[in-house]
């Protein structure tokens, strides 16, 4: 069909021989063979014990483990992100004391392995049996003056305050905050300084500029690595077994395997569980990224393209 446009006939569609990609076909062939071999092994090697695995991979104790691991991931990430933003803002503040404190925090919590933190927090009870909130150094002062003062406002038993769950959560969250602080800082620095300047020129206060103008734009840079962090966190919840918190996913699965002297199938189950949970997290990340790329070239163009597609054609 030919239409007249601007007085000229539209030419015939180009018919050309497309470029061949023999490399792709070779790669596909190799992959097919490898996959077939792998599948063959999965189904023929008795050690996988699939029936046993599926029977045990959804036991109530395992499902509770899934729940604990997810709750730990979500809470640790929420605290980690919130605290990370605060530390990043402190780190970038003009006040040398605040930025110094933020630097020390990041330095310490990035230096200590999470496993060590988890065990350490699990053993906090050794330090003090009671945690006391009150006026500082009153006891020492009282001794010095030889009088009796009680500066205690309230005190709480260490084991009530730091249950295994709390200790594990704290270890993960505090360590996460240090990493998130660096990610958030990079995000903030990636925003054109002209943005903060324009906002200040409108009379916006510094916190307002940060909250309304800088952080939303920094989000585009912050979210992808935060997705990685969340996935890493999901996997690191396995570390709280050392606190010890025994109702998390990995411990529950391996416990079944150890009890039945069939560790391997339950390790496979652990892989599958973590893969499944991570996939769910990836979907969440996709939607978050889309939400925070509003107004960027890519979405603007995609929207225009949609209009063109849906419009006059």
């Amino acid at each position: 069909m030919k239409t007249q446009e601007n007085g000229r006939a539209r030419p015939e569609a180009i018919r050309a021989v497309p470029v061949r990609h023999p490399g792709r076909w070779i790669a596909v062939a190799v992959l097919v063979v490898l996959t077939a071999q792998f599948a063959h092994m999965l189904f023929t090697n008795e050690q996988f014990m699939w029936a046993y695995m599926f029977e045990n991979a959804f036991r109530p104790s395992v499902l509770e483990g899934v729940r604990t691991s997810l709750v730990l991931t979500v809470l640790a990430m929420l605290i980690g992100v919130a605290l990370g933003v605060v530390i990043a803002v402190l780190r970038l503040s003009d006040n040398p004391v605040l930025s110094g404190v933020a630097w020390v925090y990041t330095w310490f919590f990035r230096a200590v392995p999470r496993l060590v933190l988890a065990v350490l927090f699990g053993n906090m009870g050794i330090l003090y049996a009671q945690y006391t909130v009150g006026l500082p150094f009153t006891e020492q002062f009282a001794d010095l003056l030889g009088v009796d003062i009680n500066g205690t406002i309230f005190s709480i038993d260490a084991n009530t305050l730091l249950t295994g769950f709390m200790a594990g959560l704290l270890a993960l969250a505090l360590s996460e905050a240090a990493y998130m602080a660096e990610i958030v800082r990079a995000g903030i620095l990636s925003v054109d300084p002209g943005q903060a300047e324009a906002a200040s020129a409108l009379g916006m206060s510094k916190p307002l500029v940060m909250r309304r103008i800088v952080l939303p734009q920094a989000m585009r840079v912050i979210i992808p690595p935060t997705g990685n962090e969340t996935i890493a966190m999901l996997k690191d919840t396995a570390l709280v077994a050392f606190v010890p918190v025994t109702n998390e996913l990995f411990f529950q699965l391996t416990a079944i395997g150890t009890r039945d002297f069939r560790p391997f199938p339950m390790l496979v189950a652990a892989c599958l569980w973590y893969v499944a949970l991570t996939s769910v997290l990836l979907v969440g990340q996709y939607f978050l990224e889309r939400r925070f790329s509003r107004g960027t070239q890519r979405t603007a163009r995609a929207r225009t393209r949609l209009r063109v597609l849906g419009g006059d054609h």
Binding site: A198, S200, A201, S205, K206, Q217, F292, T296, T304
Partner: protein, 255 residues
């Protein structure tokens, strides 16, 4: 008692480290006056505008807007630095338009204009929206309200930026080369908006290379070079009979 000038600069000095960028600026901008500032690159024009808005701190001299010192309070002959919050309050009466627009890319044109009235003046949303629509209409962009900056041309973006600054109902507008980043065919639409603003009696300080605009709109033209004002007066006089050799040289290069 006579009203103080809108902007009064007395012997203003500014240096970055050891480089002196402003070396004694004296000028006064009266209410309703349009002042254009020209000068070679690096002469300190942007720096001066940024000092007026306290985006930079001056190192010496006095600078006041609407009779109030910028960045300081004077009490018994002593100067006290203003708090962050007070500086932000001072900036509310000064609108600024940047060479590179600096629109907020994550907000639509309308949201850009509404942001400061909503968050700084705490206006109710409905009221802010009506006012923002009127402003967009005033800069000829009523039909672009829901576009993001990336979907607007440079000229349109700059007009939104002007509307955004006007939303705070400033007493003074500062423009730093508002048309320098634009394609030639887009310069006119922005200058038209600025001319209308001048006709409405807005006090404006405009750093620009558009000598035609300066000749038509400015009440005063200022020529800056190496951190000092070498010549100032009515634009026709400066442009047709420049007396300072540096200005003569500058004009011969621009034309």
């Amino acid at each position: 008692m006579a009203e103080p000038p809108m902007v009064l600069a007395e012997n203003v000095h500014k240096s970055y480290g050891r480089t002196e960028v402003l070396r004694g600026i004296d000028l006064a901008v009266e209410r309703g006056e349009v002042m254009c500032v020209i000068g070679p690159s690096g002469s300190g024009k942007s720096t001066f505008l940024r000092c007026v808005n306290h985006l930079e701190k001056i190192n010496g001299g006095r600078l006041s807007v609407d009779g109030r010192l910028i960045g300081y309070r004077e009490k018994n002959g002593k100067l006290y630095e203003l708090k962050e919050r007070e500086i932000a309050a001072q900036r509310r009466q000064i609108g600024m338009v940047f060479q590179r627009f600096n629109l907020f890319p994550h907000m639509t044109a309308l949201e850009n204009v509404m942001e400061a009235p909503l968050k700084v003046r705490r206006q109710p949303r409905a009221k802010a929206r009506v006012a923002a629509r009127l402003l967009l209409e005033r800069v000829g962009l009523a039909d672009r309200a829901s576009h993001y900056p990336s979907q607007l041309s440079g000229g349109q973006q700059q007009r939104v930026a002007i509307a955004r600054a006007l939303a705070m109902e400033p007493a003074l507008m500062l423009f730093d080369e508002p048309t320098s980043a634009l394609d030639p065919e887009l310069v006119g639409e922005v200058l038209e908006v600025m001319k209308a603003l001048a006709r409405d009696g807005m006090t404006m300080v405009v750093v620009t290379h558009e000598l035609g605009f300066a000749r038509e709109v400015a009440d005063t033209l200022v020529f800056m070079d190496e951190g000092v004002i070498l010549e100032q007066g009515p634009p026709t006089q400066l442009l047709t009979h420049p007396t300072h050799p540096r200005l003569q040289e500058f004009l011969s290069k621009v034309f």
